[in-house]
Amino acid sequence: MLKYIVKRILLMIPVLVFMTIIVFTIFFFAPGDPVSRIAGPNVTPEVYESIKRKYGLDQPYIVQYWRFMKSVIEGDLGISILQERPVIDMIKERLPVTLEIGLLGFLITFVIAIPAGVMAAVKKNTFVDYLCMSGTLVGVAIPTFWFGMLLMYFFAYKLRWFPISGYGTIKHLILPSFAIGLTNAAITARMVRSSMLEVLKQDYVRTARSKGLQEKVVIYRHALKNAMIPIITLMGLRLGWIIGGSVALEIIFSIPGIGRLMVDSILARDYPVVQGAMLVLTSSIIVANILADALYAIVDPRIRYS
């Protein structure tokens, strides 16, 4: 068991290293001359050359990657061209905002998806099941950002229950989190249903029932606990989707998260910021996936990967 988990965590290292290579390479070949980006358009050839040497941009690809890697390990992600501040500081400001939306979104996902999935599984092939499953079909198809705009129109413009946009109070977070949580709940509810159906077939559920336990206890205490195991892994995988989806929501609701920072920086060609944000986001998603996988093995001792 411990061996498997250690192995899994060690496997993370080559993945992360390869990820830095991909991200570095993407921006190494990005169009535009990085030297003139730093120096501005009107520089003498001498100054141009000295800047090129100063930032090591005259070095070959491998050397530049090595320097990049070294500074990343030291926690230095470069300097923003636009704001002339360390990229890592900008990310530290913006990342928690995105995480707030993501966590609240996950919470909403669970609150909706678990009861819906369990109900659909317990009342399989009844009207309730069909209703829940048609709901999830539509939910999976709804574009998250469009759903966010619909919520904004009804609950902020028409009903005025929530502020239209901005950031500061919990009320500002409700609509974007709901947009991401509800669309994510659709796919999660389907998983909960099929996982639950699998568990309800098991012998121990029948035993629990024949012991004369209340149906509620059987379902929530015995079956659901085990049905949730594969859902944990799924949630790890959904993190990337949640962050990808929150990019557009941050734009719609004017929330200063990392997605908004990234889009603004792409449009302003502030590559060090995009590169830094990309590194932080993808590495946290990769780590989350692998941790979810390891957690899966801890919770379910039957699982042995070779």
């Binding site: 993945v15 993407i26 169009p31 469009w146 990309m278 993808t282």
Partner: protein, 308 residues
Amino acid sequence: MITPGSRNGGVYVDKEWVKQQLSEYVEEKEEKRPVVEFLTKLFKHKGAVFGAIIIFLFVFTAVFAPWLAPYEYDKPDSSAILQPSSAEHLFGTDEFGRDIFSRIVYGSRISLKVALVAVGISLVAGTVLGALAGYYGGIVDYIISSITDIAWAFPTTLLAIAFIAALGTGIQNVIIAIALASWAGYCRVVRGQFLSLRERESIQAARILGMSDARIIFGHMLPNALAPVIVMATLELPKAIVIEASLSFLGLGAQPPTPSWGVILDSGKGLIGQAPWISFFPGLMIMLVVLGFNLFGDALRDVLDPNS
């Protein structure tokens, strides 16, 4: 097996007989399911019928856009600014007085083009890589599957955004970005299929018969591995449509005045309080098209690939 025949190192082997036995085996394994039976099974699903209708309408709209659109998609009309839905303007008009319905009709062309080309590229690239990894195994497999696992770990939308950051905006780059971000799935599926197919007697027989690698891969293994790939592609098409719309919505994809559904959604973003119809209808179209492909793809999976 050993019958009187050609003398070969002291053992009598009738090569013709072996060949005949083996090739019968190859043909037996390659029986094709009749098309009719397949279609009957497929359209027993209500979802498949509904999905197929939506997909047909979507493709029909894209192909016949100039005949279906009542107005030109980029023609401003100062007398009809920000009008809600009416008989004249079915989906209303935007801040330049352009007809939203006509823009959406033309926008379907962009969605369809991006989805088909991006999915086509990633499908071919992923399938070829997966086939090479699964067929040759060893070091080839190790290299390809390591890269695939890592590409698989990246979230698609973020990876597409990163490629756009490097390539620049525009439809062409959106297609490239989506293709680069989504080939890994096909590679994994095809590799898995090839690993199990490789052990089949029919493939072993084809090898013994001395068929070339290319003929075994493309003639015998690929047709047998294609079902899950087709299912996957059907379910990847709507994802490509959504990613294109999201990127265009963020200003990273198609640029105005191109009538991409994402661009129309974006143009209604600031006007959502006054003119919600600008953003409502393109989003609704995306939802319907995605629903159609998902329904059809799910039914296709039930029929083609019942094990998954």
